[in-house]
């Protein structure tokens, strides 16, 4: 059974009903704004707002934690390393041999960790509430991205699921030939590289065959140097909900910046 990356089981939530383009716009708005500044106020305001919106996702908080814990772990690691290695300003809070944590480095560390989470969450929202086919429809119909590119990428994603399977089969097939279960790390690495190359070969073969099959169904045909006209079986449309989703994104970004400016923590990265 191949791993199904293209038809995720989405909860029938408010966000799932919104147009992916609106969700993408809201997520980009928050993410880009947070990238501007490293400070704990804007990051925590955005993160707090995002957490308040989790119910709109229709996913139980526990499920969300279980499926996104690597992000949280990465944020903790980033925070810790910044606190350990960042500029040592302000009073010393803790000293363990050569490891020194000062007020300045710890606060920057917390800001980095919160910011990482606040930036990642909109992406998680998008991922958990969006069917890739709907996203492709939206990108091509609403944003007028080229259909060749969008649908090509979508079809390519289907192959990713197949390749996960293929990787497993390749591993077994190569063990049967006597490759790669030794304990020598160099040999294991070589075996891994060999298997990766074999997967690449299979991926190219499949992609070539898929391209022929799609072309045979009239996909990607050019007439006089321009893409042939194409219709869409599924209409990507905006509703009032999408207005609120986009407005929500702008509001969160504005609130985060506003709070940071008022509390004088706004700290532009390149300033």
């Amino acid at each position: 059974m191949s791993v199904d990356v293209l038809t995720p089981e989405l909860a029938n939530s408010t966000l799932a009903r919104a147009n992916p383009v609106a969700k993408l716009a809201a997520a980009l708005c928050i993410t880009l704004t947070l990238l501007l500044s490293v400070d704990w106020v804007s990051a925590s305001v955005a993160l707090a707002c995002e957490l308040c919106l989790v119910p709109l996702l229709g996913v139980r908080p526990l499920t969300l934690v279980r499926r996104t814990w690597p992000l949280a772990a990465a944020a903790v690691v980033a925070a810790y390393s910044t606190a350990l290695l960042g500029a040592k300003t302000g009073p010393v809070w803790l000293q363990l041999g050569p490891a020194v944590f000062t007020q300045g480095s710890v606060l920057t560390g917390i800001a980095i960790g919160l910011r990482g989470l606040a930036i990642a969450l909109p992406g998680v929202f998008l991922l958990f509430s969006t069917d890739p086919t709907d996203l492709a429809d939206g990108l091509a119909q609403k944003l007028r991205l080229p259909a060749r590119f969008v649908l090509g990428a979508l079809a390519g994603m289907r192959l990713v699921g197949l390749l996960v399977d293929e990787w497993r089969t390749l591993g077994l097939a190569r063990r049967a030939r006597g490759v790669g279960t030794g304990h020598n790390p160099v040999a294991r690495f070589k075996a891994f590289m060999g298997q990766s190359f074999a997967l690449l070969v299979q991926a190219i073969r499949r992609a070539t065959r898929l391209a022929v099959a799609m072309e045979a169904r009239g996909f990607g045909v050019m007439i006089d140097g321009r893409p042939a006209p194409r219709t869409w079986a599924r209409e990507s449309s905006f509703s009032r909900l999408d207005f609120w989703v986009a407005a929500g994104g702008v509001a969160i970004a504005a609130l985060a910046v506003g709070a940071a400016v008022v509390l004088r923590t706004w700290n532009v990265v390149w300033g």
Binding site: M1, S2, D4, L6, T7, D131, P132, T133, L151, L154, A155, R158, L159, G161, L162, E166, T169, L170, L172, A173, R174, R175, A176, R177, G178, V179, G180, T181, G182, G194, A198, V201, Q202, R205, R206, A207, R209, L210, V212, A213, M214, E215, A216, R217, G218, F219, V221, A228, P229, R230, T231, W232, A233, R234, E235
Partner: protein, 503 residues
């Protein structure tokens, strides 16, 4: 003329040479197919059947991808410009589906032809109806069986309402139920639309009664035979030439020709040494995922051949991979007995791969999955030299023997990936034999093989059995089972039961 009227095909001195090849894949072809005709296209592998089909579908590519001679038209216009007149279904179910959901997949071709949205969905429903796929439009395409995927691919082209339906070995990768499903879907849809059909397939019996004309391409260019099936397929001379080209001619057995087939293995020595024993064995892809098949009891003896059959997805391959020591048992007991284990421990799944290759060999369904080197010779030497570390003299002897015996000697310097399907199959079996395992596990060894490769493989396996090697074969192929099996296990609904022995 409405888009759905049957299309006519006309070739005049047509030929095509792929860029980078010296010889023409097809040359000097003169052929006229009337609208509505149903044609079975035959020929030896390499005779250019697929090339012709791709050309008719307009996907052979532009001038830089090859050289064209003569003319090939669909409804009087050159094939590449007859957009949407022809629809092509290919062999591999997994690499011709573009979309994630069933409905979208069928709609895809219509969208590309700019059919108005209001017209698309009625077409989608009718196409799914034609191929007998009664499943929700939002079902994931990844969740379908092989036969369903091929019917979906057919529905995808039917929705485009082509006048010419082109099928390139659409059933080669399917189990018998899948083959029947697809054939009936083709019959039903052609009966309704009246479209012209050209199908390539080397298992003639699948299509013989559905088509009204058989065209045989000559490897040397032009046609070898052309006429109604009841004429072409009974002509003794044509039959012999087709069989000689590896085509599965109805009533012609690859081993015995026109004579009735006989089991290959009569009066073989009875050996009693037990190699592998399973008791209440449960198998699964991983211990976490739980068992797929359980309660398996079997004993494999020296020189014994067991076949494992059953519907697709029932867990046959999982069982085979477990017996082969590639997957750990998820329940029960699997024990390698001393004649097989030879001091390597009782559980094959815990053997090092170097221990495994000289005890159990596994031939995977897709030969390319097992190729490790860029040269046939290196491929054969890999096991005995680098894994089993046999002495150099022995390696030479083994490898030279295999090259000769499997007729790979002329190909010793070739890249395994460039071989033909039959050559790849022979090589993948040879690489496993190079480390002289006592037990050989084969997953669908005859899938998609022509009759010549089939006969060669069956003879070779029969020889190995005589020498005491044991075989476990996962197979749908009844001819194969009849020729070689001592016992047959059927895997279905989570159980495996011994259903008998071949004559």
């Amino acid at each position: 003329m409405p888009a759905s009227a049957p299309a006519g095909v006309r070739a005049r001195g047509w030929g095509w040479r792929h860029a980078g090849r010296k010889a023409f894949a097809v040359s000097g072809l003169d052929l006229e197919i009337a609208p509505g005709e149903r044609v079975l296209l035959l020929g030896a592998s390499g005779a250019g059947k697929s090339t012709l089909l791709h050309a008719l579908a307009g996907v052979l590519g532009a001038a830089e991808e090859g050289e064209e001679r003569g003319e090939l038209t669909v409804d009087g216009v050159p094939a590449p410009t007859a957009r949407g007149r022809a629809g092509l279904v290919l062999q591999d179910p997994d690499s011709q589906i573009a979309m994630a959901r069933v409905g979208d997949e069928v709609a895809f071709g219509c969208e590309n032809l700019a059919v108005p949205r209001g017209e698309i969905w009625p077409r989608v429903h009718r196409a799914l109806d034609d191929v007998g796929l009664d499943i929700p439009l939002d079902r994931s395409t990844a969740a379908l069986s092989g036969g369903q995927k091929q019917r979906l691919a057919l529905a995808g082209i039917l929705a485009m309402e082509p006048g010419l339906v082109l099928l390139d070995e659409p059933t080669a990768n399917l189990d018998p139920e899948g083959v029947q499903e697809v054939r009936e879907a083709v019959r039903r849809s052609l009966d309704r639309t009246g479209a012209t059909l050209v199908v390539v397939e080397h298992r003639v019996s699948v299509w013989a009664e559905l088509v009204d004309r058989v065209v045989v391409l000559d490897s040397g260019g032009g046609l070898l035979a052309d006429g109604p099936p009841e004429q072409v397929l009974v002509d003794g001379d044509v039959r012999r030439r087709l069989a000689g080209a590896g085509v599965w001619v109805p009533g012609w057995h690859p081993l015995t020709g026109e004579a009735a087939s006989q089991p290959l293995r009569t009066g073989r020595p009875q050996r009693e040494g037990e190699l592998l024993a399973a008791e209440a064995l449960a198998v699964g892809r991983s211990p976490k995922a739980g068992p797929v098949v359980g309660g398996i009891d079997l004993v494999l003896r020296e020189g014994h051949s067991a076949s494992v059959t059953g519907p697709n997805g029932a867990g046959k391959s999982t069982l085979a991979l477990t017996l082969a020591g590639l997957l750990p048992a998820v329940g029960g007991r699997l024990e390698a007995l001393p004649p097989l284990a030879r001091g390597a421990g009782k559980n094959p799944a815990r053997w090092r791969s170097s221990e495994l290759v000289s005890r159990i060999g596994t031939v995977f369904q897709e030969p390319e999955h097992q190729f490790l080197t860029p040269r046939v010779l290196d491929e054969l030497e890999f096991g005995p030299r680098r894994v089993a570390r046999r002495p150099e003299k022995e390696v030479r002897l083994l490898v030279d023997g295999l090259l000769q015996r499997l007729r790979l000697d002329r190909l010793a310097e070739a890249n395994p990936f460039t071989l033909s399907g039959g050559e790849k199959r022979r090589l993948s079996v040879a690489t496993m034999l190079a480390t002289t395992p006592r037990l050989l596990v084969l997953d669908e060894p005859t899938f998609g093989q022509d009759a010549l490769t089939w006969a060669e493989l069956v003879r070779l396996l029969a020889e190995l059995l005589e020498q005491g090697t044991s075989l476990v074969s996962v197979t749908h192929d009844e001819d194969f089972t009849a020729a070689l099996s001592d016992s047959i296990y059927r895997v279905e609904g989570g159980r495996a039961a011994r259903v008998g022995a071949a004559a």
